[in-house]
């Protein structure tokens, strides 16, 4: 039976200088008993699709039907698990899980009973009265799952729920989820998983929808007909993974190192940190386990991840089964001298980070090649909270300055193109 249908969904984010089309005529449907995975590079709008299904965003074109009825406002049949957990830090585990039931106005005893059941189900018993800050990342995400499952949603939306966890924890939680699903211990009728890990999609989903980027379109649907539990080392599995790699990149296998990505937003990682990491990994020669890397650097995985992610976005490195592997550009970058590095960084950054391109476009369009910081801040604020926008812009400026894409005047709070850059444009 069909649960959910998306018809010709299109969405653009508007900027004064024009629009960035995020989704273009996306259509698919979800039936009862299915696990769907939305797979694509960042910038393919897969998280956006999830937010449209949840009713958080309204598409400019197209319609969403839930159980045959057009969706208007927040979708009552879904619950969502977030990449960064999104727990309320001032509520205990139990209170976090109970909160959604309070919304329904259930009496206290029933609330408590249901919440405790969900907590047991997901393996959190004993932690009922702990606050999120006392828990490890994996445990936090379990609270995220319990909070979603306690609502007994028809559709469980999973927004990269495993990507902020270290490899072992993620694997563990993934298997627990599949077990709950297989044994029908949760009344969930369908799940939609957003991920950028091909392996994860093939491991979990019944159907993988492949998305292209800029704008996001569904380019292919792949049915995974291997029964659970799937063996990641089996030939069947590996062939599917390879095939999907091929489709997503449109390139032969050996060039997969350049898995392309475009990020609307970039993680909080300074150029110095990125450079340091790349140099270090290059010195170590060969792939490094991210988890071990963290241990070696005495860094929390949460602090390391933004740097890893930034390297990945820039195409300096990629993550393969929990290993951090330098790409060819990455190696070149590590061995280059200071000036060459800047060149490499500049090229990659402009290519992979659309907002940087946006900044250049704005600066070039101005006759004096200057624009105030607040202007870009306002642009970012359309999609981020004030604080996040500030941080985002700081990182962008850090990258842009390093790569000499533009300059920044700290006293006047202005971004500007340096003389040479503006000359280049005229000639």
């Amino acid at each position: 039976m069909e649960l959910l249908r998306l018809e010709n969904i299109s969405l653009s984010f508007k900027f004064p200088e024009g629009e960035i089309k995020v989704l273009d005529k996306v259509s698919f449907s979800v039936s009862e008993g299915e696990i769907i995975s939305l797979l694509g590079p960042s910038g393919s709008g897969k998280s956006t699709i999830l937010r449209i299904i949840a009713g958080l965003l309204r598409p400019q074109e197209g319609k969403v039907y839930y159980k045959g009825e057009e969706l208007n406002g927040i979708n009552h049949g879904v619950a969502m698990v977030f990449q960064n957990f999104a727990l309320f830090p001032w509520l205990t585990v139990l209170e976090n899980v109970e909160l959604g039931l309070k919304v329904l106005g259930l009496p206290q005893e029933i609330r408590r009973e249901k919440a405790l059941k969900a907590i047991d189900l997901i393996g959190l018993d004993g932690f009922e009265n702990a606050y999120p800050k006392e828990l490890s990342g994996g445990m936090k995400q379990r609270v995220g799952f319990a909070r979603a499952l306690v609502m007994e949603p028809d559709i469980l939306l999973l927004d990269e729920p495993f990507s902020a966890l270290d490899v072992l924890t993620a694997e563990n939680l993934r298997n627990d989820l599949i077990e709950l699903w297989m044994e029908k211990r949760i009344p969930t009728k369908a799940m939609i998983l957003v991920t950028h890990s091909i392996e994860e999609a093939v491991y979990i989903a019944d159907r993988v929808l492949l998305l292209s980027k800029d704008p996001g379109r569904i380019i292919k649907e792949v049915k995974i007909e291997i029964p659970h539990w799937r063996d990641k080392k089996s030939k069947e599995f590996l062939n599917l993974v390879d095939m999907i790699y091929g489709i997503l990149t449109g390139k032969p296998m050996e060039k997969l190192a350049f898995r392309e990505k475009k990020h609307l937003f970039i993680p909080q990682a300074g150029v110095g940190a990125i450079t340091g990491l790349i140099e270090l990994v290059n010195d170590l020669e060969g792939p490094v386990d991210i988890y071990k890397l963290g241990e070696e650097l005495l860094m929390d995985i949460e602090d390391l991840l933004p740097i890893v992610e930034a390297s990945e976005i820039l195409g300096l490195a990629e993550i393969k089964e929990g290993d951090f592997v330098l790409t060819n550009s990455g190696k070149k970058f590590a061995e280059a001298d200071v000036l060459e590095r800047k060149e490499i960084f500049k090229e990659l950054a402009i290519e992979k980070v659309p907002f940087l391109k946006q900044i250049i476009r704005v600066l070039q369009s101005k006759s004096n090649h200057k624009a105030p910081r607040d202007f870009f801040l306002d642009l970012l604020k359309q999609h981020l909270s004030a604080q996040e926008a500030e941080k985002q812009l700081d990182v962008l400026i850090d990258w842009g300055r390093y790569a000499e894409i533009f300059e920044y005047d700290d006293n006047k709070d202005e971004l500007y193109l340096s003389e040479i850059l503006s000359m280049e444009k005229k000639s």
Binding site: L91, K102, V103, G105, Y131
Partner: protein, 570 residues
């Protein structure tokens, strides 16, 4: 104790919003100054029972007033902060407006508040009480609003989305997301606000308006009256009970609250910094509180939750909020336009009445007050800078001295003022010195606290290195200490200067030992105009003070603040 109230909105461009605001200030000031003409009553001799046995009762009265004013501030904060954070159009007006409201001294609010309240409760004691409470309110509300607004706009996006997907209704969103997220900021600002309330208590419990004196029983009026009579022992007694009460409140309410509020810290790993309070433990173990929680507060919260669930179930969610929003919006905007129109005409006609001579006096007074304020801040800096650094860089000293300083700082300077006057009153220019001294007493603590905090933040290894290298004292200050404490210094300076301007209204014009003593200054002008019922003069001088404070903040402090953030932060 930080109190930085820069809004995130850029001030650089002069926009229509700014013009509206200027017009708006005009209308506020007009309202302030125009109403008191309607009130005249023959004055009667004042009487007040100064017997010490009444002191506990008086203290209680004052406490209740400050508490009610705080509740009023809290409600106002929620409404104003909410509107500013969620209404993009109004935000552009409301936030800069706060800057201005903040710079209007308490006494300037007196006439309109008084008249409005008296119109509602003619000739009754309740009217006076309400006037006093509202006056205290105007002295403490603004920084709370700023803090709440800042918190609201910085709530992380994923938490907002979670709340939306979970379909928290507006009440639940407020209770489980917005209020907890703002809690810590609100609490620190509440502490500052209540301290401000004590500072102006004397002015708020005993005031003169259109040449008539009003007095409300309270510890503030006790002190005022005792100083009018010049009765030093009574002043000391009153001072003692006031200090005792403030210390009790600090220990019994604020410390436990701060320790408790740590659970609202928005962090996902445990931090080292911790606030502890033994008294909080006592409260947690208290049977009465447990009983109340189990039998009353939990069931009530449950009922309230249920009520809102039902309410929002029936009312169609989206249409309700948008319709309501639209009507509310329209209403507010209409109100603002009305006020502006009224203000333009009103202020225009008032200001026109002021002669050139009057303006000369106002401007001259403003300059003199500015000079006094600057001297007070500079003297404050001169002593707090070396001592603060000494305390901050020596952990042992910090531990001993900081609690003492906190208690000293909590004594409202206005209450000590009469004692100072006794010594200075007969010297020529005595009030001039006393006035500066009061400003200093009221504001030096902000400097000291911030400098200590800054000194604590100086990296220990750098200090050791510079000692080892035998760097000269001056060089050490220039290259290490000063850059480290500069951001803190600016923070302290902004608060201190704002406070000093506000203090001018209680320090430049005084009734002591049955005679009026005044010295030239903007504060004296405002106090005098307000008590004599001179509308035009009150309007002109309040406007001047507001403009001066806002200008100094924008042109001087905000720039230093930016500089400190960029150059000296580490």
């Amino acid at each position: 104790m930080k109190r930085i109230n820069w809004s995130s909105i850029s001030y650089r461009k002069f926009s229509i919003g700014d013009i509206l605001i200027l017009l708006f200030i005009g209308s506020i000031i007009y309202a302030i100054s125009s109403l008191n003409t309607y009130y005249t009553r023959p004055s009667e001799p004042l009487s007040f029972d100064l017997s010490p046995s009444k002191l506990p009762l008086y203290s209680l009265y004052s406490l209740i007033r400050v508490f009610l004013a705080y509740i009023l501030s809290f409600i106002f904060t929620l409404v104003y902060g909410y509107t500013a954070a969620y209404n993009k159009k109004l935000e552009k007006i409301l936030i800069p407006l706060l800057d201005i409201l903040q710079s209007i001294p308490v006494l300037s609010f007196l006439p309109p508040v008084f008249m409005a309240v008296l119109a509602l409760f003619p000739g009754s004691q309740i009217g006076l009480e309400i006037t006093s409470i509202i006056l205290i309110f105007t002295g403490q509300v603004w920084n709370m609003v700023f803090s709440f607004y800042q918190s609201l706009i910085s709530i992380p996006k994923d938490l907002r989305e979670t709340a939306q997907i979970m379909r928290l209704n507006p009440w639940q969103r407020f209770w489980y997301l917005e209020l907890p997220y703002s809690a810590i900021g609100l609490l620190w600002n509440s502490m500052m606000s209540v301290a401000g309330g004590w500072f102006f208590l004397m002015a708020c419990e005993m005031f003169t308006i259109t040449n008539q004196d009003f007095i409300l029983p309270g510890i503030g009026s006790y002190l005022s009256f005792a100083s009018i009579k010049g009765d030093i022992p009574k002043i000391l007694l009153g001072l003692f009970s006031l200090i005792l009460m403030i210390i009790l409140i600090d220990q019994l309410i604020w410390r436990p609250l701060i320790a408790w509020s740590q659970k609202f810290k928005f962090e996902f790993t445990e931090s080292e910094e911790s606030y502890e309070s033994t008294i909080l433990l006592w409260y947690r173990r208290s049977q009465i509180l447990n009983f109340i929680r189990e039998k009353f507060s939990s069931p009530i919260r449950e009922k309230v939750n249920q009520y809102f669930v039902e309410k929002y179930k029936r009312a169609k969610f989206s249409s309700f909020s948008s319709n309501f929003g639209r009507i509310f919006n329209g209403f507010i905007i209409a109100l603002i336009i009305l006020l502006i129109l009224r203000g333009v005409f009103g202020l225009g006609s008032l200001i026109f009445q002021l002669s050139f001579e009057n303006w000369k006096i106002i401007i001259l007074s403003a300059l003199i007050t500015f000079l006094r304020v600057s001297i007070a801040v500079i003297i404050g800096l001169l002593w707090t800078l070396p001592i603060g650094v000494k305390i901050g860089t020596n952990p042992k000293l910090t531990k001993i001295i900081q609690p003492i300083v906190q208690i000293l700082a909590s004594i409202p300077a206005t209450a000590i003022f009469p004692i100072i006057l006794v010594f200075l009153i007969n010297i020529s220019g005595g009030l001039n010195i006393a006035s500066i001294l009061l400003m200093l007493l009221g504001t030096q603590w902000y400097l000291l606290f911030n400098i200590i905090a800054g000194a604590i933040s100086i990296p220990k290894d750098l200090l050791e290195v510079s000692n080892l290298m035998g760097i000269k004292k001056w060089e050490k200050w220039k290259n290490l200490i000063f850059p480290c404490i500069f951001p803190y210094l600016v923070t302290g300076g902004i608060t201190a200067m704002g406070g000093a301007f506000n203090a001018s209204i209680v320090s430049e014009y005084i009734v002591f030992s049955n005679r009026v003593i005044k010295t030239m200054g903007l504060g004296a002008l405002i106090t005098e105009a307000s008590s004599m019922g001179n509308n035009s003069l009150l309007a002109g001088s309040t406007l001047t003070m507001a403009v001066m404070v806002v200008l100094i903040n924008r042109l001087f402090w905000k720039r230093l603040f930016k500089l400190s953030e960029e150059k000296f932060s580490h």
